[in-house]
């Protein structure tokens, strides 16, 4: 069997910091790509006042965690493809295991563990220090070739984020 090839293989282990610049919401929140590999993406969301949900305790709003996980999961799907296609989120389910620790940067690690011609399947965790001690876990599905926006990486940036990518 021929070895699987990946459209984004050149970026594996060597992600471009500016990869999310085509995604305004990610750029404004300061999200950066930390790691990419076969079907794998890790994205960092720096702790900042705008993402807080509970100002008394400084705990991050659940919805901001959804945005981070969605971003990482879409990129993980792109990292699993042999040729790039438009990627759109079908659904996401996030379990909030505990509150994220206030003041710490947040990470989402997404693994695309199955790709079919039209649908890709992802699981993800979000954590501050250790992916084995996550504060949130997530399952998601993504549709491939979903819209006319072309591939998400016709330029090096532009992974897009959820809903449509």
């Amino acid at each position: 069997m021929p070895e699987r090839t990946y459209a984004l293989a050149a970026l594996f282990g060597n992600p471009l910091p500016e990869m999310l610049h085509q995604t305004p919401h990610a750029r404004v929140l300061g999200m950066t790509v930390v790691e990419m590999g076969p079907g794998l993406a890790i994205i960092k969301l720096p702790y900042r006042p705008e993402i807080v949900g509970d100002p008394v305790r400084g705990v991050v709003f659940g919805g901001a965690i959804t945005a981070l996980i969605d971003q990482a999961s879409g990129l993980a799907v792109a990292c699993a493809l042999e040729e790039l296609l438009a990627i759109a989120t079908i659904d996401l389910r996030v379990d909030y295991l505990r509150a994220a620790e206030p003041g710490l940067d947040l990470f989402a690690r997404s693994q695309c563990y199955r790709v079919t011609p039209r649908v890709a399947f992802v699981r993800a965790v979000a954590y501050e220090r250790d992916p084995d001690d996550p504060f949130a876990s997530c399952l998601g599905t993504f549709m491939l070739g979903a819209n006319r926006s072309g591939t998400p990486f016709s330029r090096p940036a532009g992974t897009g984020g959820g809903g449509e990518k």
């Binding site: 995604t23 305004p24 919401h25 926006s149 532009g158 984020g161 809903g163």
Partner: protein, 136 residues
């Protein structure tokens, strides 16, 4: 309710406001550049739509229970139904079950036509009425 939404920094960042009418509580998110996920379509970021749904569910619960303590989300799932176009998005929640400990809330977000939702959400929340006043 407006004070409450103003107290949530991420809600302020997204620019979410509230409309109260006979039809109930509606959260309104005007379009702005910084909520875009795909600049070429352009389309609203899926995570932002998810956040709007979750926020709407939370506010609906606080409105219903009259308890200012914010319920804790256990989990939240989002179905993406249509692309979020660069226009105003609205969301309304319906409480499926309000138990003594857990609430199950369903939320729909739409743009021009409420019959054509862009996203649907379902959240389970831990109510805090049974927690002691010290919080945790």
């Amino acid at each position: 309710m407006k004070d409450l939404i103003d107290a949530i920094p991420y809600a302020r960042f997204l620019g979410v406001g509230i409309e109260e009418s006979d039809a109930g509580l509606v959260c309104v998110m005007p379009f702005s550049e910084h909520i875009v996920g795909n600049a070429r379509l352009p389309a609203i970021h899926g995570g932002v739509l998810g956040a709007l749904l979750e926020l709407t569910a939370l506010l609906r619960l606080i409105h219903e229970t009259g308890n200012p303590r914010v319920p804790k989300p256990i989990n939240f799932s989002v179905d993406y139904l249509r692309s979020g176009r660069p226009v105003t998005t609205r969301a309304r929640a319906r409480i499926f079950k309000l138990g003594s400990r857990i609430a199950n809330v369903h939320v729909l977000a739409w743009q021009d036509d409420p019959e054509k939702p862009v996203a649907a959400g379902n959240g389970k929340f831990l109510l805090r009425a049974d927690l002691d006043p010290s919080g945790e």
